[in-house]
């Protein structure tokens, strides 16, 4: 019966009319357009972000200096004439620097005016002079031209961050200061030089003396601790869970919890670190060791998930081949599966490390937000980290810290870009086909 009715029914051919075709093409074109719009929106936002950071921050890589005619007076620096280190170190370089600058403006005599004049020069001028003398005591008794850092206000003014057109009461550089600056410019005694201090110094209250090196060292000490802890623990747990653990309710529970941990807000890990590492175990506050331990806790789930995915991606035929020639399970994993999964594991680890490098919140809880001038020398020294340094500078009122903040962001972004590039390279380099 069914057969007769089937043959009797009119055969329906597919509808190949132009209208259907047009609709299909239109749908595809629309979809492509949406995709392009999405991509351009993403690129546009990124470009906007980068331009704003770079345009704000590129000036921080230069610093204005003032030329001083410094007379290294022997009576002032080394009255005994024995060139003894401690005597040379303690001489009144501040006075010498101030005298040199005042010497260029002999008509400034009033006390407050003199103080304002000296304020054009960075407070670090004495250090510059001391370094010169200690490096080469022969300069004592001679007169040298020395470039010392300008104050942050002069620097901001020269960079155009402080405008002449603003009413005098609203700007930090007064009309009198501008007169002196114009005179220095006329004498070609103000010059913009590459700001090495920014890359070699720790934090400072004075913007022209503040640098990113202390935070960078802190960040990398911390990252080292993070990786030393989380890489082996994460990879071993992933191998055990993926290759050896039986699949039952307990391992399911563990898997769900690991995935949950990956989504826990980082501040919670900071609170945990504060409660456990600092209060219970009494580890030092603000130390890269504790910061690294907290970040290791935070990175562990990421590494475990990435490593498990990488292990899962190794085809089972490789395991069977190894077991088939009589390799034990551990040999099959260490000789064959793990090497094949390594690029994926490393990629995951580097991405986890990059995430840890950019993390701020948990560090606030364990005291790494402190103002620390010294470069940390070890894992238990007080330190700060790059993102925390950015946070601290962003909070500072001086105009010159605005550009410093953006410059620090650029440094942090550069590190992240390098790490991600390494991840991509590793993946390309060790990728094997099977």
């Amino acid at each position: 019966m069914t057969e007769t009715s089937a043959s009797a029914a009119p055969i329906q051919r597919p509808d190949l009319s132009g209208a259907r075709l047009k609709r299909r093409y239109a749908a595809e074109a629309r979809f492509r357009l949406y995709g392009l719009i999405a991509v351009f929106a993403a690129i546009g936002t990124l470009v906007l972000l980068l331009t704003s950071i770079i345009s704000n921050g590129y000036t921080a890589f230069a610093q204005h200096h003032i030329a001083l005619e410094v007379t290294f007076d022997e009576a002032e620096i080394d009255p005994t004439g024995e060139r003894e280190y401690n005597v040379l170190r303690r001489a009144n370089y501040q006075g010498i620097a101030r005298a040199s600058l005042r010497g260029s403006f002999p008509d400034v005599t009033e006390r407050r005016a003199k103080r304002a004049l000296v304020g054009l020069m960075s407070g670090s001028a004495d250090q510059t002079l001391r370094d010169i003398v200690l490096a080469n005591p022969d300069v004592i008794g001679t007169t040298q031209t020395v470039w010392v850092k300008a104050s942050d206000d002069l620097d901001s003014f020269m960079k155009g961050h402080i405008s002449r057109d603003v009413p005098e009461s609203d700007r930090r550089i007064k009309d009198r200061d501008i007169g002196w600056i114009d005179q220095l410019i006329a004498d070609e005694r103000i010059e913009s030089q590459f700001n090495t201090t920014f890359f070699t110094a720790g934090d400072s209250r004075e913007p022209e003396q503040a640098g990113i090196w202390g935070a960078t060292v802190g960040s990398f000490l911390m990252l080292f601790v993070t990786l030393v802890l989380s890489f082996p623990i994460g990879v071993l747990s992933a191998i055990y869970l993926e290759e050896f653990a039986p699949k039952n309710r307990w391992t399911d529970l563990i898997e769900v919890n690991i995935n949950n941990l990956a989504a826990v807000p980082s501040i919670v890990f900071g609170l945990l670190g504060l409660a456990v590492f600092l209060n219970f175990f009494g580890l030092p506050r603000s130390a890269p060791l504790v910061g690294g331990m907290v970040l290791a806790l935070m990175t562990l789930p990421t590494i475990i998930i990435a490593a498990r995915a990488a292990l899962k991606a190794v085809p089972p035929s490789i395991r069977e081949a190894a077991l088939g020639v009589g390799a034990s399970k551990l040999q099959a994993v260490t000789h064959h599966v793990l090497p094949l999964a390594m690029p994926g594991i490393l990629t995951g680890t580097i991405l986890g490390a990059a995430q840890a490098l950019g993390e701020t919140a948990p560090l606030l809880m364990i005291g790494m937000v402190a103002f620390i001038v010294d470069i940390p020398g070890g894992f238990t020294d007080s330190a700060t980290a790059l993102p925390v340094q950015i946070y601290l500078w962003a909070d500072s009122p001086e105009r010159a810290f605005v550009e410093k903040t953006s410059a620090a962001i650029m440094v942090l972004l550069a590190f992240l870009v390098v790490m991600n590039a390494v991840a991509v390279l590793l993946r390309k380099r060790f990728e094997r086909r099977w």
Binding site: S317, A321, A322, L323, G324, V325, G326, R432
Partner: protein
Amino acid sequence: MAMAAENLVDENPNIAEHKIIARDVSVYYGEAQALKSVALDIGRNQVTSLIGPSGCGKSTFLRCLNRMNDVIDGCRVVGDITLDGEDIYDPKLDVVQLRARVGMVFQKPNPFPKSIYDNIAYGPRIHGLGEAKADTDEIVERSLTRAGLWKEVKDRLDKPGTGLSGGQQQRLCIARAIAVNPEVILMDEPCSALDPIATARIEELIDELRENFTIVIVTHSMQQAARVSQRTAFFHLGDLVECGDTQQLFTNPNDERTQGYITGRFG
């Protein structure tokens, strides 16, 4: 289980003739039973082929013989299987040593993503054969020669094994299996991914290997079973329907299911 195995030996005076003796072997994947109380003897230095439609349990049975089923979660094997009179499911028996005695070649060629040399040398290395470089070199050459691959690859032993053609890869896998000098080689549809010419090469090879090894081969091709094997076992829906001399099974089967399958009425 050990006791049962000893009884089994007593019941089978012709142990010298049979390399592997399986009795009452049932396999369960979770609740589902994949193999129902199979009893099969594998002749020494013979090629035994296992045929049957997909899902009939022939691969499952093959994987019981070197306990490859242990790897699968939820797989349970009951019954007795002995290799030269030794119960291979004895808890005291080391699985790794068993697999060194019972090698395996898989359906899809699966060379390690390493050099051809390392593919062959890996097995001997982990079993402590050929500690010296010269010994390993010799094992590699002998294994590749026996697998009929030496002439084709001797100039590129350091090239990846995955760069070979499908048929060469499968012969590489056979060479890898014989490099550790197993007593039995299990082959799970070794030619299903190969063209007729490569298949013919492998079949020739199987015939040559019979001299030194006991071979069990699972195949979908009845012509292949007829060409390479001396004994054939026909599986259907988890039952071992019939087992006998290949010639006899294909020309004059006892069971009508076998008759139906080999004449192409189902399967």
